[in-house]
Amino acid sequence: MTGASALMAWPVIIPLLGAVLALLVGRPAVRLIAGVTSVATLSASAVLAWEVAHRGVLRQSIGGWGVPLGIEWRADGLAVLMLLTIALVGSLTSVHALDHLPDREDREFLPLWLLVWCALNALVLSADAFNLYVTLELTTLGAVALIAVRRDLPGLDGGLRYLLFALPGSLCYLLGIALLYGAYAALDVGLLAERVQPGPVTWVAAALVTVGLCLKTPLFPLHVWLPPTYAGAPTPVTALLSALISKGSYYVLFRLWMEVFAPVMDAQVAQLLGLLGAAAVIWGSLLALLQSQLKRVVAYSSVAQIGYMFLVFPMATEDARAGAIYLVVSHAAAKASMFVAVGNIHQAVGITALGGVQGLAGRMPFTFLALGLGGISLIGIPPSGGFIAKWLLLNASIATGQWWWGVVLLVGSLLSAAYVFRILRGSFLPLPEGVTVRAIPLGNELAPFALALIALVLGLVPWFPLDLLAVGAAR
């Protein structure tokens, strides 16, 4: 454990320390702790990303125990890109949350969020299937507490729904890796990749792992918990859930599927995952079009966007993988930005219906710029990260001769344009009579804008994340 490899510990340790400190110190220094921890974790992630970009993949054995007994951490391009995303999106969203939530809740919000951050970072860096399970569990439990942080009925209800789906998900996953361990005596992802053979045990294990992770992410038709949970949670928490926490389970699935299962699975299974993804795109978009509550439109949009991410499995080329991860990253920024903007609108006019945006664009320009830029990224119109992702996936669909996934992508983006502009166009109408607009602090206005700028920049300089992603990527 020397030099560069030791850097891997910091993105996990710093938020953990911050969480403990926030619990102990409490109210007076909450903002200070939030600020310092965010900046420190962001810097640690950036330094690690720099090292990986210049030196290649880093590995580290915790406590000096190497494979196959101990816990291994691995930082490749994909992992550090996720670290950076979590750090940037997470810190901007949580800073906004501290202004948005009432006093009592932000005392509890901050330690919980920092704990989730720590767990997510550890998850991203984990290189063995069991460690992935532990960090995934930590994330889930932290998320449940975050959803219910307001202790009101919608929040408790949402938290419970999430828990009821996530726990069976964890059990399925655990069973799956137990089977794998029994059959191949390995938990390390790299070792598993070398040892797995096609056969009933592998297939059952893969099915369990996949179903478990699809429950948490969630993939259509297992998404039924998502809309009420997203709608019931406090808006900044919804932003974190949709942007980052749901990506944790997707990341595990992506890793295991691409590195371990893909070579030994029947192509039909991958097609099935793609099919469910396509169904999610269509179903989620159509339902987003039918919603009358602003927050639910954005929530159903997440169902659809997650669907796109599953189109990678049947294609699985280098372009497709880059496209899926690019979507994960740009969706994180764009969706967080949109949820936070929706939170601002609720705060300003107290209307949760879609019509609440009427005439507000002039009063809250940055909030609406954020909605617009975020929406453009969701649709996949350039310049935005969403466009780059769509471009890469489209290329893959044509290059692999599976043009029907391309059609799904294109139809999906038309549907998403329909629901995004359904939100945006209202802002050009005059302000209705009798509506008073409360002033929003400038910081709250700038947070979603900054998030949307990330989605925009992802569309302007795509070579940077794509180069990073190529470090240590399986060919």
């Binding site: 002039g362 320009p365 453009i376 649709i379 119109i381 350039p382 310049p383 466009f387 780059i388 769509k390 471009w391 489209l394 290329n395 044509i398 290059a399 391309g406 294109l410 983006s413 038309l414 344009a417 502009f421 166009r425 050009f428 109408l429 005059p430 795509p462 070579w463 794509l466 180069d467 190529a470």
Partner: protein, 496 residues
């Protein structure tokens, strides 16, 4: 040696002012106007410098890396300059017009911000050096015109905006599919004279499918039948927006794109070999006739002009889809001619609506006496549209007709003649009644000093573009006239 910064500057000269204008407060009227006009003037100068350079054979290219294996390229070739010069000149006059037209209305920062972004996208489209760059700016154009279309914020405007988005985003989807298909087939497709794909062998089916997707996508903005439905609806936008939409920005972006695809992506010889231009010529011919027939039925002046645009833009497509240098010249030069004449007509319609609240064709009786300069400008542009010399439209029709005969497609001459008759049918009655009939009712007396028929900010652009329409026809023989420049382009494209 290549000049690498000038294309970027041309783009930034409208992008940056647009972004700054968003930040200005609504009351900062003077600052905004000065910024707008300075930017427009700067762009004119930069364009002139670049045009002179290209004429002398210099090369201008800005290239930045985008994907690991694809660049964003801004390149000024002779064809981009045709479009840029048109946009720069018309943007300048339209800015003056818009400042006058929107005097005293709300949301002007938003309007001029998106207005500048719209022009920046047009510049990007003109300068795009490959299909990917073209697509980026093409989408940006859709996004920046949408707020202009729904600017008034009425129910009707929002509905028009929906229709506009439905058409253009569907078109962009087809276009994207085509771009990706070509990209996987041939890598980054750079626009090159005589066609980048001419070296690709085989893949005929894929090439035809990609051509269909690309042209289908572009045809939406170019308003070819049956993709024209958005254009008459988008008429609810303020007059300067309609003027810009019809003359420079949106429909021209479509026509420009189709030209790029035929000449610089596929190459004339390849499209001819694939046999895909003939169906396109038929679609264009149908559009020409259909647009004119519909225009004849419209009682609303702006809607009549809109259908006239549907018909006139199809001339461009017709010209470039007939194989041969003469018809190509006719098509390309109409890109400029139609722009100058159509913007004049829209300025006039805006003047009538602004000063006397005249919107319907019938209400224009006797308006010539009250607003002589505006009506004179209208007359010139209308005669040009019909194809009467010496106005620019005559040159177009002459070249198209000769080109059709040269390509051995005499039926197209019939189409041109019928269309000219129809043009006369919907323009001449307006001209006649405006000059020679007595007004139906008494208009409120003018309150303007010294007999001005309308504010100078509205009158000046109208007169300038009318003069340009005549000048483009009169001096067509000059080397730097639109026609002369088009010959230069065509020579380079057809050089074997």
């Amino acid at each position: 040696m290549k000049n690498t910064w000038l294309p970027m500057c041309v783009l930034l000269s409208s992008l940056l002012p647009g972004l700054i204008i968003f930040l200005l407060s609504e009351e900062a009227r003077r600052t905004r106007t000065v910024l707008n006009l300075t930017a427009a003037a700067t762009k004119l100068l930069l364009t002139a410098a670049m045009a002179w350079g290209v004429f002398q054979g210099r090369q201008y290219e800005t290239r930045v890396s985008f994907f690991p294996n694809a660049d964003l390229v801004l390149r000024a070739d002779s064809f981009s300059l045709l479009f840029i010069t048109l946009s720069a000149v018309l943007w300048f006059v339209t800015t003056i017009y818009a400042v006058g037209y929107l005097e005293g209305t709300g949301h002007r920062s938003r309007f001029f911000g998106f207005f500048s972004l719209c022009v920046a996208s047009t510049m990007g489209i003109a300068l795009a050096g490959n299909l990917l760059t073209f697509f980026l700016f093409y989408e940006m154009l859709t996004l920046s015109t949408y707020p202009l279309v729904i600017h008034r914020g009425t129910k009707e405007a929002l509905r028009a905006g929906n229709v506009y988005l439905r058409y253009t985003l569907s078109g962009a989807t087809l276009l994207l599919a085509g771009v990706v298909l070509l990209y996987t087939l041939a890598g980054t497709v750079e626009f090159t004279e005589r066609g980048a794909l001419s070296a690709v062998s085989g893949h005929r089916t894929e090439l035809v499918v990609a051509f269909g997707l690309l042209i289908g996508g572009l045809a939406v903005k170019a308003a070819l039948v049956p993709f024209h439905g958005w254009l008459p609806v988008a008429m609810v936008a303020p007059a300067p927006v309609s003027a810009l939409l019809h003359a420079v920005a949106v429909v021209k972006a479509g026509a420009f794109g189709i030209t790029r695809v035929i000449y610089d992506v596929y190459g004339v010889y390849l499209v001819h070999d694939l046999g895909v231009t003939r169906p396109l010529a038929v679609v264009a011919a149908i559009t020409i006739l259909y647009g004119s027939l519909k225009a004849l039925q419209q009682g609303d002046l702006k809607r009549r002009l809109a259908y006239s645009t549907v018909s006139q833009v199809a001339y461009i497509v017709l010209g470039i889809s007939i194989f041969g240098t003469v018809s190509t010249i006719g098509g390309l030069v109409h890109l400029v001619h139609q722009g100058v004449m159509k913007i004049t007509l829209f300025f006039c319609a805006g003047n009538y609506a602004e000063e006397l609240h005249l919107h319907r064709v019938k209400e224009l009786r006797g308006v010539g006496r009250r607003m002589p300069l505006t009506t004179a400008a209208f007359t010139i542009a209308a005669l040009g549209m019909i194809g009467i010399p010496p106005v620019a439209g005559f040159i177009t029709k002459w070249y198209l007709g000769i080109g059709a005969l040269e390509a051995n497609e005499p039926w197209l001459v019939v189409v041109l003649l019928v269309s000219s008759l129809l043009n006369a049918g919907y323009f001449l009655p307006i001209v006649y009644s405006a000059w020679f009939q007595a007004p139906r009712e008494d208009w409120k007396p003018s309150t303007r000093p010294r007999g001005w028929e309308i504010g100078w900010a509205l009158l000046f652009p109208t007169v300038v573009t009318a003069v340009l329409s005549v000048a483009a026809g009169l001096f067509a023989g000059a080397e730097l006239s639109p026609l002369g420049w088009t010959r230069l382009i065509t020579d380079r494209e057809f050089r074997p």
